[in-house]
């Protein structure tokens, strides 16, 4: 386990304050945050490379706050590798692996860098350096591995390979990992626990899916890439029947189990939009978060179970790779949908045209 309690650290004028989270033993944690939020400082504080001004760190069952880095049983990988420039690639990988040579050889093979071992580090590309730094940290088979954007310089093919191998080694060797990333996809692919960090504080932490779908604040929602964050007013629909949303038990339906969990039917009003959802929110001011990929677009009024159906005009249509982003104006309120470029082509969408947008009640998160 990586256990961090009320951790405070200072580097120059920057402060980490009151950081608390747990990554259970054998799990993979991801730290997400903007540049300058303190992600690297957090890893260094856990590693014992930055002194704490408050709080405690425990690794596994040991409190290590007062232990030096060499006794913590950790491996650290920096974004820039920090390979020792006076040593060859092989010497770098074996630097701390005198007692774990088979592991060093295995990780070198699995990361596909066997042919690099005799090279000097100055001759490596940025991506190759990251792979060697990964191998060097993993070669000791440390129980805890701290990774600071370890795949950022890799080309897409090698990134996929490295991610897969690191995840596989993580499962096979059972180490606990904590990785810093800017990449939400990576966070979703790798993480069992997501920790959102901003300005030296933890904004939210939990299962990645939970954090992505249920951001605690509109700021977090926007930070995580939610494009529809609407300010408005919630009203609890006290008299709504259990089948209020659609009348059946498909996703998006308020079913008895939800009611038992304390959920109730809700109406959220943002300007001209009336959105129906379910949740535990009380009446009053709130923000509704709807991820763009949850919004469907149709040419005709959809025969769908979705409770929220609106007619809007396409204000902007943009394509990025395989995805299309459709910005709508719904009675003066902006609403963004994301669909595949193929779907956008099939629908023959054009700016200025009117289309139907729909999303399920459970796609709406209130915060």
């Amino acid at each position: 386990m990586i256990g961090v309690r009320n951790l405070g650290a200072r580097v120059g004028a920057f402060h980490l304050r009151d950081i608390t989270f747990d990554v259970p033993t054998g799990r993979y944690g991801v730290v997400i945050g903007p540049a300058g939020s303190g992600k690297t400082t957090l890893l260094e504080a856990i590693a014992g490379l930055t002194p704490l001004v408050s709080g405690d760190v425990s690794l596994g069952s040991r409190a290590v706050t007062r232990e030096p880095p060499e006794e913590r049983g950790i491996g650290i990988v920096y974004q820039h590798g920090y390979l020792f420039p006076h040593l060859s690639v092989g010497e770098n990988i074996n630097y701390g692996a005198a007692n774990t040579m088979p592991a060093a050889q295995e990780v070198t093979r699995r990361l596909g860098i066997v042919e690099l071992v005799d090279r000097h580090v100055q001759s490596l590309s940025g991506g190759e350096r990251q792979l060697v730094a990964l191998a060097r940290a993993l070669a000791r088979r440390p129980p805890v591995v701290l990774l600071d954007e370890p795949f950022s310089a890799l080309d897409p093919k090698r990134r996929a390979l490295a991610r897969r191998e690191v995840r596989a080694l993580h499962r096979e060797w059972g180490f606990t990992a904590l990785q810093v990333t800017h990449d939400f996809t990576e966070a979703g692919l790798l993480g069992d626990v997501a920790i959102l960090l901003d300005a030296g504080r933890v904004l939210q932490y939990g299962a990645p899916d939970e954090v992505f779908r249920r951001p605690a604040t509109p700021y977090i929602a926007e930070f995580l890439g939610a494009e529809n964050v609407l300010a408005g007013t919630v009203r609890v629909l006290q008299d709504a029947p259990p089948d209020f949303i659609t009348g059946d038990a498909t996703p998006g339906t308020l079913v008895p189990a939800d009611l038992a969990a304390g959920y109730h039917a809700l109406e959220f009003e943002a300007a001209a939009l009336k959105i129906y959802t379910v949740g535990s929110a009380a009446s009053g001011s709130a923000y509704a978060v709807i991820r763009a990929e949850e919004v469907s677009i149709a040419r005709t009024a959809p025969a769908t179970s979705a409770r929220n159906v609106f007619r809007g005009r396409i204000m902007e249509l943009s394509t990025l790779g395989a995805l299309a982003r459709v910005a709508l104006d719904v009675d003066g309120t902006p609403l963004v949908a994301a669909l595949t470029a193929r779907s956008a082509d099939e629908l023959a969408l054009r700016e200025g045209e009117e289309v139907w947008a729909s999303f399920k009640a459970l796609a709406v998160h209130l915060c």
């Binding site: 060499e70 950790i74 390979l83 020792f84 420039p85 701390g96 100055q122 000791r140």
Partner: protein, 271 residues
């Protein structure tokens, strides 16, 4: 894109000409005396090393004492330089400032100050004398004078060399199981080595050329600088030239070493 208007071109040209002239005058001013000395006394200086036992002895004494001072400076100054490079405290800042003092005071004054601390009448000097280590009028005095004026150069250069080694290299090494002393041996020193050697060479060169502090502490036995001065005051300019020229040629050794170091592969870049 920035462009130069035609009206400004003559002014730019004038500034360039003045700058080039100034630089040339300075260069000639610096090189002319040395060139003149080597031209007039270089051959006789080399010949004198073969026939002049006093000059040969002075050169040997200078080389040995400068090497002794440099070795002591490296041994004692390297840990201090590392501390100064890695510590951001007021105390470290104060120490760094104090270390520059020997470079700022006139060297005869440094000699007088050393005499006060290491002279026969002083506490330390009398202890050393009882231990059989006389300072005044001995090679030890020369080493002390050289150390005083040149060690700050080594510590300052070594501090820069250590500061250029990103501490994350050391952090990584510690997470790989090394204790700090082992990290120093396996990572920090190899990465700072080029800067440390360059600083040692500069210290040695400065020690070789020292005169003011040495002449106060130990006039005899004579280093080359004292011998040149002695011959100038006793016999005149022409007798001083061979010894002075030999000292200049001697000083070329560290210059060549520094040049070689500059062309060596850089080892202190983060990778």
């Amino acid at each position: 894109m920035q462009t130069t208007t035609p009206s400004r071109q003559p002014l730019h040209r004038l500034i360039s000409v003045v700058a080039a002239l100034g630089s040339s005058v300075l260069l000639i001013f610096l090189l002319a005396p040395i060139a003149q000395l080597v031209t007039r006394g270089g051959v006789s200086g080399i010949r004198a090393v073969g026939v002049d036992a006093d000059l040969r002895g002075a050169l040997l004494l200078t080389a040995l004492t400068a090497t002794g001072a440099t070795l002591f400076g490296i041994l004692a100054g390297t840990p201090l330089a590392y501390f100064l490079a890695r510590t951001r405290s007021r105390a470290a800042g104060a120490i760094a400032a104090v270390l520059d003092l020997p470079l700022l005071i006139p060297h005869p004054v440094a000699g007088i100050a050393l005499l006060l601390v290491l002279g026969r009448e002083s506490v330390a000097g009398s202890w050393l004398l009882k231990a059989g280590l006389g300072v005044v009028g001995t090679p030890l005095g020369i080493i002390a004078a050289m150390l005083f004026v040149s060690a700050p150069l080594y510590v300052s250069g070594a501090r820069e060399a250590f500061a250029r080694v990103d501490r994350r290299f050391e952090g990584v090494a510690r997470t790989l199981g090394d204790r700090p002393i082992r990290v120093m041996r396996r990572v920090t020193l190899p990465l700072a080595l080029r800067g440390l050697v360059a600083s040692g060479v500069v210290m040695w060169a400065r020690a070789v050329s020292e005169f003011g502090a040495i002449v106060i502490l130990t006039y005899n036995p004579k280093t080359v600088s004292v011998l040149s001065y002695d011959r100038f005051t006793t016999f005149g300019l022409s007798e001083a030239i061979p010894a002075a020229a030999a000292l200049v040629l001697f000083a070329l050794i560290p210059l060549i070493v520094l040049r070689l170091l500059r062309y060596e592969r850089r080892l202190d870049q983060p990778w």
